[in-house]
Symmetry: C2
Subunit: 332 residues, 2 copies
């Protein structure tokens, strides 16, 4: 196995670490779309990882890189970068920096993954601030939302980069041929919205991207665009809001049905939210980093971890970052 | 009837005008919480209004002010202000300007209502840009979101004013005793988020308002805050998104139930979204104007129009604007 294809998995990140993370690695090397066992490096407390593997029938051959420290989900990334130098996220990032792996997957502290990726692995040339691409689906059709929260003070140029990176990701990793880009705004007309959106609209219009113009809040799930471009503030609020709101609507409907004497089994209720569940697509991609970085939901179970690892493999095998760089300098 | 209590109703605004608007006026003067008929002024094409009233059994005594022009839902407000001087929204606004009414209710073009209110009626002293307060409910408990889209480029001072105006509205009109104010942001800590939020956090913290700090997207429906403060860009996108997403989740759940052989009657399904329906609270209030201005949903039916008229009456009978002015100058 060439190191250029290896995936460093943060075994300590997320609410269910290390058990569900290690279970996810085991799932990823089983089944039809299996990854080879030597493609994965588990990074974290080696005794805990070994013990869990032992309880699952032994280590099938995973390389384990020991990290003595863990960054909690709510810890301040800046403090953790200084105070916990041997944490599993930074250690995984340093494998990318040294060329011993090409991809990092973590279900841990999002801010910490962004910080370690930016400071340890480094940004792509021309990208000022990385952005998080999250994929949500409806009826099996994936849609990319950029940015989920890496850059809350986005400039028009940052928004343009979000569009470019999202389009390359949708094409190279999700296989959407000519992704349609929409800029999230309060109206369809080019002159609508805040100043940053007006300027981003002009930059996107002047580019060679397949920019379809502004899309409104009510268009997000209407299938108009494959990539929705916004700033990290709006993206973060939308995603957290939808997660909670979806559960709320289902709960209310179950309550109304119950009052009317109608029983709805739990699996029927949960299937309504399944297509909206981004675990189905693995995790979010931190784009603009000189490597492949995937950030999963803290609540990820083994299935979500396994999907994230397969997504990491697909992204690593694509020319994602080369295409982003080429898009930034179209005349080179 | 003193003119200081009169409500000017734009009979031509909205998808179902004038029929459903006039029906709403008729509903508002009937029933337990009835408004007196001489409190309402119907503004619009007098022959259309008279004809519809005739078909409903005759005019019970409404004053009608004729306006020969109508601004469409998608028209550019700036062009309409110039090109259609005798439109029903501007004409209703001029009744407030001249002191012949104290409140304006329209289900028409939101941007046009904002423009006519700002330019014809005028702003409250100290308020630079008006904001739209929308009330959504869950389990009967109302929550105010400020701003729904009047000011998309909000400064920290604008956000602070949104908080103040939202709190006064929640207290004076919705009857929430000491409304808890939350600033919508990407994290709970004061130093999180974009620059405008950090500065707004400081202004709100230093005020005498009951500011509980930042709330995240996932907290919006958790009942933590009575008033959610945000800019008009974020508020507009959230509201349009939730409306569509709620319907989508219900449709998906009905589909899953149908596949499982479970029939859910339409009224059970729609009741799940009912509490989230802001028509129940009448309409959105345009705050910061030297009068009471209510903007309803374009799709409003007679019930929503009637609720908006009752809300206008409650607001007009309160000391809403006096309290906003007092809040802006606490030491006067």
């Amino acid at each position: 196995m060439t190191s250029a294809r290896k995936i460093a998995l943060d075994a300590m990140g997320g609410d269910n670490a290390p058990a569900e993370i290690v279970n996810g690695a085991l799932q990823a090397i089983a089944g039809d779309e299996a990854l080879s066992v030597d493609r994965l490096i588990l990074v974290g407390d080696s005794s805990q990882i070994e013990a869990h593997l032992e309880s699952c029938g032994g280590n099938p051959g995973f390389e384990i890189v020991h990290a003595s420290e863990v960054v909690g989900m709510a810890e301040d990334p800046r403090k953790a970068m200084r105070g916990k130098p041997d944490n599993s996220i930074s250690k995984a990032a340093s494998l990318l920096k040294r060329g011993e792996a090409v991809s990092l997957v973590s279900m841990g502290n999002t801010g910490m993954v962004v910080a370690a990726s930016t400071l340890v692995v480094g940004r792509l040339p021309g990208i000022r601030i990385p952005s998080i691409a999250v994929t949500v689906g409806l009826s099996g059709h994936p849609m990319v939302l950029m940015d989920m929260g890496a850059n809350v003070d986005a400039t028009p140029e940052n928004l343009f980069h979000n569009g470019l990176m999202g389009a390359v990701y949708a094409q190279d990793v999700l296989g959407i041929e000519t992704p349609r880009l929409g800029l999230l705004n309060v109206g369809e007309e080019a002159e609508k919205g805040p100043q940053r959106c007006k300027e981003a609209h002009a930059l996107l219009s002047a580019s060679e991207l397949n920019f379809i113009g502004n899309v409104e809040g009510g268009d997000v799930f209407a299938g108009k665009a494959d990539v929705i471009v916004t700033d990290g503030f709006t993206g973060n609020i939308i995603l957290k809001l939808l997660e909670q709101f979806g559960e709320l609507v289902v709960r209310k409907l179950l309550g109304s049905a119950h009052e009317a004497g109608i029983k709805i089994p739990a699996e029927v209720a949960s299937s309504a939210l399944q297509d909206l569940d981004y675990a189905a697509y693995g995790g979010a991609l931190l784009l603009g980093i000189n490597g492949i970085v995937i950030i999963g939901h803290g609540r990820s179970d083994a299935r979500a971890v396994s999907n994230a690892l397969k997504q990491a493999a697909r992204a690593a095998d694509s020319a994602l970052n080369e295409h982003i760089i080429a898009g930034l300098h179209p005349n080179d």
